[in-house]
């Protein structure tokens, strides 16, 4: 197996683990962590494609990854704030208990 394929496999696994985490966890923070894993899987892909791509000397992939990491960080900050607001209201971060809007 070529190194690229190994990295792709790793990223696919990471994505799946994140997905599984986001789907199965009840705690909002853990769901958020799952989503972060999915985003990072994409970052691994970006870097792997760059490193084993045709022109690894032009730092494109790294740039992409840095961009997406910083954006994801901003998102996580806002997300945690929202989770905090929810916690203040419901005294829980259990997603199963946040279901007043439905139908």
């Amino acid at each position: 197996m070529t190194p690229l394929n190994l990295f792709l496999l790793l990223s696919a696994l990471l994505f799946s683990i994140g997905l599984a985490g986001a789907l199965t966890r009840r705690n909002a923070i853990l769901v958020l962590i799952g989503i972060e894993l999915m985003l990072n899987a994409a970052n691994i892909n970006l870097i792997a494609f760059w490193r084993f791509g045709p022109n690894p000397e032009a730092l494109t992939g790294v740039m992409f990854a840095i961009f997406s990491i910083s954006v994801a960080a901003a998102e996580a900050a806002v997300g945690l704030a929202i989770i905090l607001a929810v916690y203040r209201h419901n005294k829980t971060t259990n997603l199963n208990q946040i279901d007043t809007l439905k139908g």
Partner: protein, 678 residues
């Protein structure tokens, strides 16, 4: 909102119009072109003025404005007739704006055309419309929302005129939807009354089904002709390989919606919840004939599809019969007239179906006269009785409201087919054309038509006798809260209506009597002028059958016999031996109750369409998961673990995690589809 649209008009439409006129100023036709624009614009102006300022204006001003902006188009139409007389040549005026829509591939102009067919329709709409406006001034005099009524009425006139003036399917559709909207507003005029609001809604929804057909037909036309312009489509029709049967059937579906034919006629009887002048104008004289007009306008297409024509003929015949049978047992005076309208529209449809388009339009015209008359007269009766609509509580009114009686009699005799009145000639023409069409469908339609003529005569005279003859069942001093929201005309005993209401009745009565003269067939020494007048437009349609005048007279005799039979039967049942009708009803209980419940069509529709829609929505939203996927897989995987089954996970459970699950499932499906299907 009204103010906004007015401003809008001022800002955008008018300058553009001016540009348009300026660019065409050199052409000699300019005057007449301007006239075409004015015809619909004037009622619209009336709508805007009454809609914006009406609330604050005195009633006299509101009615003056409404009348002014209705009489002016009528005058313009008269001018068009003068132009026609002066020219001698067939009239064909066009007014075209700059491109209205120009999408890649096809464009539509905002264009109006006047030819002979349009001219007839214009005359009916503006003429009858004006009379009904006059009548309404008296009828609505004490109603709340007087201004609103006239604003809507003018809006209706605007859309109806656009409908008949348009020279493309798209603009026709705009008018088509517009009249539907105006009709919705007017049926629901007494919006605080639940039945009225529901009737408006029903009319709107049923018409949407028809519009669905119309829209699909338009899209097919775009696909095959690349245009929606009448001229382009019709002139290329013969040489284009398009699915004409499909297009025509879809158009016919649209027409069945607007013209209240099977299967979509159910809205019209309910539409009687609107004020009576509205029933007269929209649900008898003009809007409901839009379907007939559209079919006649598209006769080029329909002639290319014998199947579609046969379907139209059968629908027409079946509707005529069905509505007439229901009309026989109704007790609400307006409902009798409503079913009669449906039945008469069936005749017109039948005429189109056997290719006798001009006969259909002829009947549109005579029907506009006598049915508007009948409705207005019925309105006058209702007015006289302080809002009473039940014929069982009428009787012996002929002395007490003589003008209404005499004018209504003219209408009754005309619709029933009394020889040499307007209805006689137009109905005869349809039956004659059906009989001589030379097809089995034609003969069948004729037979049903004759039988329906008998029924028509029966139920119309039933109405006549029950209302004006026999013993009086009038409950004196009707308090107006009986039909509270409907006609709050106070309780000052039975009285004749004021002149502002009876004058239109008298004019219409004259028209109902002599209106047929323009179409006297050769067999009776006439020249069938009406048909020849429409020749330039409809000539490519039905071949003129050179039937002997003997056949014509024989057929007329049959129809007259049907009339006489109906009259005789009604006389027997309601004058000679009143009460027999009740016995008969008792004896034929199943049939009577079938008719009384209008064949349970409403119930079936409700159950089949509305019910199933709600069911589908319930199943789609909550059922799939519970009953389908989850329970199904449970059934497969394990042997009914009840604990899991009780976990009702619905699509919109409110639970974020199940939402995420749906997202993931959707994503998986999308990925699977992209990769594996191809």
């Amino acid at each position: 909102m009204f103010l906004l649209s007015f401003l809008y008009l001022l800002l955008f439409v008018i300058p553009e119009g001016n540009l348009l006129f300026a660019s065409r100023a050199t052409e000699s036709i300019m005057d007449n072109t301007n006239l075409l624009w004015l015809i619909p614009t004037l009622p619209f102006a009336g709508f805007l003025i009454n809609g914006t300022l009406g609330r604050k204006l005195p009633r006299a001003a509101v009615s003056a404005i409404a009348l002014l902006f209705t009489v002016l188009p009528a005058l313009i139409v008269a001018k068009l007739w003068l132009i026609l007389k002066a020219d001698g040549a067939p009239l064909a005026l066009q007014a075209v704006s700059r491109p209205w829509i120009a999408v890649s591939g096809f464009h539509v102009d905002f264009a109006f055309t006047v030819d002979h067919l349009t001219l007839i329709m214009l005359s009916i709409i503006t003429g009858v419309g004006f009379l009904i406006h006059i009548y309404s001034v008296g009828y609505m005099a004490y109603e709340e929302g007087f201004w609103r009524f006239f604003a809507y009425l003018n809006l209706f006139m605007f859309f109806m005129l656009v409908l008949v003036l348009s020279s493309s399917f798209l603009l026709l559709f705009v008018g088509w939807e517009g009249v539907g909207l105006a009709s919705y507003l007017l049926i629901g005029f007494y919006f605080t009354k639940d039945s009225a609001a529901n009737a408006g809604k029903k009319a709107f929804i049923v018409n949407r089904i028809g519009d669905f057909g119309f829209l699909l037909a338009m899209f097919l036309l775009i696909a095959h002709f690349g245009s929606l312009d009448f001229n382009t489509v019709f002139s290329h029709a013969a040489t284009t390989a398009a699915p004409f049967t499909a297009i025509c059937l879809l158009l016919a579906l649209g027409a069945t919606g607007k013209s209240a034919q099977i299967p979509l006629y159910v809205w019209l009887p309910d539409a009687m919840e609107g004020p009576t002048p509205v029933s007269a104008l929209i649900h008898a004289a003009t809007m409901v004939t839009a379907g007939i007009y559209m079919v006649a306008r598209c006769h080029v297409l329909f002639n290319l599809s014998p199947t579609a024509l046969a379907v139209v003929a059968c629908i027409g015949a079946a509707t005529a019969l069905l509505a007439a049978t229901i009309g026989m047992v109704q007790n609400d005076i307006k409902r009798v007239l409503a079913y009669s309208t449906v039945s008469q529209l069936g005749y017109m449809f039948m005429a189109c179906g056997v290719g006798a388009y001009s006969a259909g339009i002829f009947h549109v015209m005579t029907h506009a006269f006598f049915k508007a008359l009948l409705f207005l007269a019925a309105g006058s009766v209702i007015h006289a009785l302080g809002g009473e609509q039940d014929m069982r509580k009428m009787g012996a009114l002929r002395k007490r409201i003589p003008i209404t009686f005499w004018t209504m009699s003219a209408g009754v005799f005309a619709i029933a087919g009394f020889p040499f009145l307007s209805g006689f000639f137009s109905k005869d023409e349809i039956l004659f054309q059906a009989f001589t069409a030379g097809t089995a469908v034609g003969k069948f339609a004729w037979a049903i038509g004759v039988f329906t003529a008998f029924l028509t005569s029966f139920y119309m005279f039933r109405l006549w006798f029950k209302t004006f003859f026999g013993a009086s069942h009038v409950v004196e001093h009707n308090t107006h809260d009986h039909h509270a929201a409907h006609d709050s005309h106070g309780s000052h005993g039975v009285h004749e209506s004021p002149l502002v209401m009876t004058a239109p009745l008298m004019i219409l009565a004259v028209l109902a009597i002599i209106g047929g003269i323009v179409g006297v067939p050769t067999a009776f020494g006439g020249h069938n002028e009406f048909e020849h007048f429409l020749d330039p437009v409809l000539s490519s349609g039905h071949e003129v059958v050179a039937a002997s005048s003997g056949t014509a007279i024989a057929l007329s005799t049959v129809a007259t016999l049907a009339f006489a039979l109906g009259l005789g039967l009604a006389y027997q049942l309601y004058i000679r031996k009143p009460g027999t009708s009740r016995e008969i009803a008792k004896k034929l209980q199943p049939i009577y109750s079938l008719l009384d419940h209008k064949y349970w069509v409403d119930e079936v529709y409700n159950f089949a369409i509305v019910g199933s829609l709600l069911n589908v929505s319930r199943i789609a939203l909550s059922g799939i998961v519970d009953t389908g996927i989850v329970q199904g897989s449970i059934g497969l995987l394990s042997s009914g673990t009840g604990a899991l089954a009780s976990v009702t996970r619905r699509m919109q459970s409110g639970n974020i995690r199940s939402y995420a699950g749906w997202l993931a499932l959707g994503a998986a499906a999308v990925i699977a589809i992209t990769i594996f299907i191809h």
